[in-house]
Amino acid sequence: MGIFKRLSWFFRKEKRSYLTGIAALIIVAVLQLIPPRIIGIVVDEIQMGIITTESLVMWLAILASTAVGQYILRYSWRVRIWGNAAKLEQIVRKQLFDHFTNMDNQFFQKYRTGDLMAHATNDLRGLRMVAGGGILTMADAISVGLTTLLAMIFIVDWRLTLLAIIPLPLLALTSRVLGKKLHLRFRDAQAAFSHLNDKVQESIQGIKVIKTFGQETEDIEQFSRQTDNVVVKNKAVYKVDSLFDPAITFIMGISYFLTIFIGGTLISAEEISVGDFVTFINYIGMLVWPMFAIGRLFNIIERGSASYDRIESLLREETSIAERQGAIDRPVSGNLTFDLSNFSYPDEEGPTLSDIRFTLEAGGTLGLVGKTGAGKTTILKLLLREYDDYKGSIRYGGFDIRDYTLDALLKHVGYVPQDNYLFSDTIRENIRFADPTLDQQAVEAAAKLADIHDDILGLPNGYDTEVGERGVSLSGGQKQRISIARAILINPELMILDDSLSAVDAKTEESILSGLKDLRQGQTTIIAAHRISSVMHAEEIIVVDNGEIIERGTHQQLLQKAGWYKEMYEQQQLERAMEGGES
């Protein structure tokens, strides 16, 4: 029941509609008692031969107005209680979403997309069940259960009632036990289904490999093993699931047995009337749901409270990137100075970066080269404040970047990441992602600079083409260039290209770089690349290996050094010649 207390902030907020809803529910419970009673009375009046037109019309009128009254009240509580449940779901979903957007990298490494999605769907459903089904079941079970029981005792006969309801607690027990069992088995079945999904996914993604090795038959066999497993797990589910209705039937059967036997004896002894008996049988039927619901209530509460635990623990996670009190909100400008003695990723031993020191003058260009995994991207991540915990300082315009507001820093940095993520929206919206108010002209200007404008015009719907639409496949190079356009659009103080030209051919690379150079006169640029040609025109080039700077200088200086840089440069020149300008 703790979950109701924990959700009390919401119940209090919606106090009025919950109270009205529950009041309606209770009145319905009382009204429900009328029809069986009237049936009983009419039966008795007929049997005793005392029925008159007046009394019959009166009873029928009461019954008909009960029907209408119930309808109105049922509508009223359903809309209130289920409506509130949907509202709670909406509120918590918003909380989760807002929270996610404020979380740092570490959070997203700890929780995978699938997990977060599961919380935002299944756990929200669990919560909705508590606020709707939970409240409903509790109020309904108590009101219907109690009023029916009282009616049975006072209107019909207390001895009959006490004996007939003996088996009923079994209903609550059954639904609780079966419900729990079913839940566990259902989880296994879900897991089997998700394995099956993984299998399909792999087979389709790796279809070329399977065809190449001619392993179709074996793959189909593996697939059947998975579908067999799904069947086995679901069989276990059905074994329990199919038990619910029969179990209720059985327990109610005992109750009916007692009712017929004792009721019959009482009628025979003229203690109760036939009409009472008919009323009673109908009342017993009305107790099925509340008793069963009590068992279900425990399960709803249990799952709902586990769901809320998970949601709350997500909401309790804190981001490590915070703005300082009184942070500078003037946009960054000036020289960028790296004076980093040491940085390691959280949970990782040994430094990832050490002694990275350089100054990039305002308007200058810095090149970062090195092997995959050498630390280029890590340097950029620190600059983007994805991690704040390092020894040393990174200063922009003389101030530590951690002293700026996030807006002052990030809004003026145009970062083009390695893995260019595009949203499933139109190409236009993807390019003007940072500012959707910009017009087509601005979008096109950026696209032209990124050398992607003509490609876009060649797509079925031009700038309105949806990314990820069926039949539209953008190449890696095209995606990269769209990401570049996205960054160009904001005309950033500092532009960072993180290996963002790897999938475009040499000619395009050259045209993009020279375009950027013209556009960004006096603005600062960092280019991290695997390909030397991307960085060779930079004022300073830094070669990173194992998190340390191993060589530095201009292109000419580095070639004279005859080190890693020169070796790489020559090798790449060869390859490039071979490809003959092919991407």
């Binding site: 049922r74 957007t101 025979s268 020149q573």
Partner: protein, 595 residues
């Protein structure tokens, strides 16, 4: 994409719905007996349902109203009622269990056939269809079939319940039953009303939920971009709008359900009781009647109305089922099969000689991407294919691997048409090394063995050693049993390449087809890969798409392709002497060397 499909959901005409239904029902045919049995149990259930009130009615009318009753008689009726209850319970369990299992197996059957169909389809289908779309068909749409089948159970139960309770009423009193039938048109009207209003809202709600979840997933995936551009506030606002609009349609759904579902059925039931009491009551004013019948009638009226709520509720699921079925059938009906072979079982690849004679090929049947291609590769020799993107290099491989069928000319292996070899023979004797190596979830061993159980662990280790993949594998925790996560994400592209070399070489193919990678690979692994390629080529007929000088220079023949034609051919030295486009490339490379 999913959400687009939903929002574009067209209403499928009734006739087509029936056609789809008929076709999808065929998959249930192997489980016909189970389904029939479940239906028999369904009838039995409805009969026991009708018997129970009847027992009480007889008990009331023949005994209770007659005055004092012997304990034995009372016990008899209580016992009878209980025994029928036991039968009812048993019948009910088997009905549910058998039906559920039969529908589960039908779903399995659909899945299995769909998956087999996918493997019959050629690369054309996979090149043109997004992976996500195919996966959704095979998983979610087949899963939706379960709900679909459950709708049938609800309909069967509902129909039998209604018919048998009506029948039981007829047996008791024909006039009153006929009067009760006036509720039938009212019910039909309510059902129709509900269907019209709920289906629209229901689909709107579903598509909004899927939009909401797509947005959420996208935001999580693209979080770094969002934070980078400081768009958190905007996206929060946008999400809130979607969230609110989902709430609105959910709220309308709640309202429609409250207005037209169980409350209204409940009211109609009570009104039916009013009618029953009125009819019997007015009759009783004139002549005495049996009161037990009143009880039985009110009870049957309950059986008559009760299944309707569930029936109406499942109507929307029925629509979903038809939509999913039609999507599944689209895949089943696809005819873009793997190119057919005219198999000659005796055809074997022994030497690995490859001949292309005037081969022309197009993807769309109109624009030839290969035009009159002729060349010969003698056993053990290497031919290298050079050219720009779109020149036709990859198409030659698509033809040679039988991923696509060519239209004109002939392709011979060891003098026999490539079409005459059994597919298995072709796959066993030709090894293709793909540009981007794909690793499966499992272990290193699994990825080298690739489901071929004839390959022993020893073979695997030897193959890894041969391509020098053993060095990094030996350093892994668990070595050859080291885990490979989805798509091999924990390995560098160079390492993945080496593993795929091993999986090719462990099969000892006669013919090797190399689609060389252009991806960034760090220098150390790069040299291992080059060496691996050299070793693999030894003694094998090789066709290589080359991006790197070292692979080409010692090739026995180099083909320079341009727009589907072979424009130059010869050895490296011959082509240099000839002074054509190959020489231009080579000179470019020399300039590169001098700087």
């Amino acid at each position: 994409m999913e959400q687009q499909e939903l929002s574009k959901r067209r209403t499928i005409p009734f006739k087509e719905q029936m056609h789809i239904l008929k076709r999808i029902l065929r998959f249930a045919r192997p489980y016909k007996n189970e389904f029939m049995l479940a239906i028999v149990f369904s009838v039995a259930l409805a009969i026991t349902n009708a018997a129970l009130p009847r027992i009480i009615q007889v008990f009331i009318d023949d005994h209770l109203t007659a005055g004092s009753v012997a304990t034995q008689t009372i016990l008899f009726f209580a016992g009878l009622h209980f025994s029928v209850t036991i039968v009812r319970m048993t019948v009910w369990y088997f009905e549910l269990y058998i039906f559920n299992m039969a529908s589960e197996k039908t779903v399995q059957n659909i899945r299995q056939q769909l998956f087999e169909q996918l493997h019959r389809l050629g690369m054309r289908f996979f090149d043109q269809t997004s992976t996500g779309w195919i996966i959704t068909r095979a998983t979610n749409d087949t899963e939706a079939m379960k709900d679909f089948w459950h709708v049938f159970l609800t309909i069967i139960q509902g129909v039998f319940g209604v018919v048998i309770s009506l029948g039981a009423m007829f047996l008791l009193d024909v006039t009153v039953t006929l009067w009760i039938l006036i509720f039938a048109p009212v019910l039909l009207l309510v059902i129709r009303f509900y269907q019209v209003y709920s289906s629209r809202t229901y689909h709107e709600m579903k598509s909004k939920l899927s939009l909401l979840n797509t947005k959420l997933a996208e935001t999580i995936n693209g979080m770094s971009v969002i934070q980078q551009f400081r768009q958190e506030k905007r996206l929060q606002k946008e999400f809130e709008e979607t969230n609110a609009s989902y709430f609105d349609s959910r709220y309308s759904m709640v309202k429609i359900n409250a207005l037209l579902l169980s409350p209204v059925i409940n009211m109609l039931y009570t009104l039916a009781v009013v009618l029953i009491l009125a009819l019997f009551g007015f009759e009783a004013l004139n002549s005495p009647i049996e009161v037990g019948v009143i009880y039985a009638f009110t009870s049957y009226a309950n059986d008559f109305f009760r299944p309707l709520t569930r029936l109406m509720d499942s109507l929307s699921l029925f629509q979903d089922g038809v939509v999913s079925s039609s999507r599944i059938l689209t895949v089943m009906d696809n005819k873009e099969f793997v190119p057919a072979q005219v198999e000659d079982d005796s055809a074997q690849i022994t030497n690995g000689k490859i001949e292309f004679n005037n081969v022309s090929f197009s993807y769309d049947g109109q624009n030839n991407v290969l035009k009159n291609i002729s060349f010969t590769v003698n056993p053990g020799e290497t031919v290298a294919l050079v050219g720009h993107t779109g020149s036709g290099k990859s198409s030659i491989i698509n033809v040679l691997m039988r991923f696509y069928d060519f239209q004109q000319g002939e392709v011979l292996i060891d003098g026999q048409s490539i079409r005459s070899f059994p597919m298995r023979e072709l796959r066993q004797r030709t090894g293709l090394v793909l540009q981007d190596s794909f690793l499966f979830y499992g272990t290193i061993k699994d990825n080298i063995r690739l489901m071929n159980e004839e390959i022993s662990d020893r073979n695997i280790i030897e193959a890894a050693r041969f391509v020098q993949a053993d060095r990094f594998i030996e350093e892994l925790p668990g070595r050859y049993d080291a885990k490979v996560v989805e798509r091999g994400a924990s390995f560098s592209s160079g390492q993945k390449q080496l593993i795929s070399f091993a999986s090719t070489i462990v099969r000892d193919p006669k013919i090797l087809i190399l689609d060389e990678a252009t991806a960034n690979i760090d220098t150390e692994t790069e040299s291992l890969i080059q060496e691996g390629l050299q070793r693999m080529r030894k003694g094998r007929t090789t066709v290589a798409i080359a991006h790197r000088l070292s692979t080409i220079r010692d090739a026995d023949q180099i083909l320079v392709l341009d727009k589907g034609h072979i424009i130059e051919r010869g050895t490296h030295d011959e082509l240099i002497a000839r002074g054509g486009s190959y020489k231009d490339m080579y000179e470019l490379q020399n300039i590169g060397l001098q700087t």
